[in-house]
């Protein structure tokens, strides 16, 4: 094993001199963390509202003021007629119309009940649902303030339901997203760079030269993968620091446990990258394949949309996605404080992936053609 240090030395040198790899290693992660964490949010912060107020009373204006005061709603237009209000929905100037009918206030005072119509642009169903929930909670509060000690559907509060949110009490979306994005960082190093790095030797022809040397298959594979393994763990450390400093993500669980899991996960992803490189002859093809798998892995990982919302067959397929398991581990350990025994199943999955894909890839990579 005297040869290995020489191979590692060479690989590190090459990685740090490669102009197209360095940005992927050092710039892309920052961009991803900063942009993705801020952009990838399903939080609804600004509902653009068009107001159609046929009543023009203190009661109707009060509700609009109250909605604006929450910070979630902003009035983009006051439209005289319902049609004009709805028109703003069509032109995407507004994403919601609130329509007070004539006699809104009078009805409320006389009979204690009045109607207000809300029309949501539901193209984005999730956003519409959240907007509606916000709006109705404002309306409930407002009704209460107006003196009617009643709730929305008119039933006195007998069972008092106290909602409690554990693990992310401040309801911050970045807290949820950042651990998942850290997984992405590690994955890109593992999959993209390992695949491209090996195919590159094929493309420039040095692999022929290596194949006639006494380098063994395992020396070659370890020499190629270990630097990336180290870089992957470094990225994770870097990402965790940024997550802490920039996004104040709570880290309840054990950080060493996170690194231990990442170490196993990286082996699996590096194996995958190696396998991709054995399937391709040019960096181009490797990139395409890697990108293709990456899209599938990301979309079926629970990073953006919950796995639990998928149909059952898709959930079963998602079990075969290493990303899904690692994202679960990261969220549970970092945000919920899970210990090893709580994530044991996920850990076994990772070990399973690593032990399947790496040997498969090593076997596929051969020094001698047949």
């Amino acid at each position: 094993m005297r040869t290995l240090p020489f191979i590692l030395q060479k690989e590190f040198l090459q990685i740090f001199r490669n102009r197209s790899l360095l940005p992927i290693i050092f710039v892309l992660p920052i961009v991803q963390l900063v942009i993705l964490s801020n952009a990838a949010t399903f939080e609804v912060k600004n509902v653009r509202m068009s107001v159609v107020d046929e009543d023009q009373t203190e009661a109707s204006r009060g509700l609009v003021r109250k909605m604006q005061a929450t910070g979630y709603f902003s009035v983009v237009a006051n439209s005289p007629t319902a049609d004009q209000g709805a028109d703003l929905l069509l032109s995407t100037a507004a994403s919601m119309v609130i329509h007070f009918p004539l006699h809104f206030e009078r009805d409320l005072r006389r009979s204690g009940t009045a109607r207000v119509q809300m029309i949501f642009d539901a193209q984005d169903g999730a956003k519409a649902g959240v907007s509606q929930a916000y709006a109705s909670s404002v309306v409930v509060d407002y009704s209460r303030e107006l003196g009617a000690n009643i709730v929305l559907d008119g039933i006195p509060a007998g069972i008092d339901v106290i909602p409690v949110n554990w693990f992310n009490a401040e309801q911050r979306y970045t807290t949820f997203m950042v651990p998942g994005i850290l997984v992405l960082l590690v994955t890109i190093v593992g999959m993209f760079i390992s695949a491209m790095n090996i195919v590159r030797e094929k493309e420039i022809g040095t692999i022929e030269q290596l194949n006639v040397t006494p380098i063994t298959k395992s020396q070659f594979v370890i020499g190629k993968l270990m630097p990336l393994w180290v870089i992957g763990l470094f990225e994770l450390a870097f990402g965790l620091i940024v997550a802490k400093l920039l996004f104040d993500v709570p880290m309840v669980g054990s950080i060493p446990l996170v690194f231990a899991m990442a170490a196993v996960y990286l082996v699996a992803m590096l194996g995958f990258g190696l396998w991709l490189s054995t399937m391709t002859d040019t960096q181009q093809q490797a990139m395409f394949l890697a990108w293709f798998f990456m899209v599938i892995f990301i979309l079926m990982s629970g990073l953006f949309t919950p796995i639990e919302s998928m149909p059952h067959w898709a959930q079963n397929i998602a079990e075969l996605n290493p990303l899904a398991h690692f994202i679960r581990i990261m969220r549970r350990v970092l945000l919920m404080g899970a210990d090893f025994s709580a994530i044991r199943t996920e850990f076994y999955w990772l070990v399973g992936f690593a032990m399947t894909i790496l040997p498969m890839a090593v076997r596929q990579y051969r020094k001698v053609s047949h």
Partner: protein, 253 residues
Amino acid sequence: MAAKDSSTERVVIDVRDLTRRFGDFTAVDSISFSVKRGEILGFLGANGAGKTTAIRMLTGLLEPSSGDATVAGFDVYRQREAIKKNIGYMSQKFSLYEDLTVFENIRFYGGVYGLTRATIKSKSDELLERLGLQHARDHRISGLPLGWRQKLAFSVALLHEPEIVFLDEPTGGVDPVTRRQFWDLIYETAANGVTVFATTHYMDEAEYCDRVSIMVDGRIEAYGTPNALKNQFEVSSMDDVFIRLARSTSQSS
């Protein structure tokens, strides 16, 4: 050609009926020859004649379909790793890493062949001095002229003192002066008892070889010393030998 008493030298490459098929296509068709220690073998042939396939089998990169061959006394089927320790190889495609410096390349290949750091250090100093490249020790390969790279690649292939060195078109794209210098290096190497197995396109280079093999359509159609071949085909240069051969096979087919 330094006259060598070949009868007392041992055979280092021995090939018997070596064949390689790719599907229906026979790339190398039952070739046989042997090369003795310290000889320079010129391995000639048109593009696609099967030279590269033959070299890949002898260096352990490709498994033969049938036939036998030993390289440095080791079998090409069962002892490929032992062969690799005892040969040097300089490929057609450029074999040094362009993004590494001269010394880093030497260190890497030295390490791959199991040399210690101290040995690598002394050997690289010696090598750079011989090539007159001391000043370029810490320059990246990408900045070196092609001729220097070729000489360097050749020297790196010899770093671990192999018995045989395989050169796959070593002088492609190099100017005549550098080619001449390169062949001087080859002579020097052969004189030190290293067997040189070189493929080439240049017929003038064939004249420099101890022995020449010419492949046509996967077979060895001519084999012998350059003089013997010229006599056999009754021509005055290796160029003409080659043209004769090409003509006779195109007539026969």
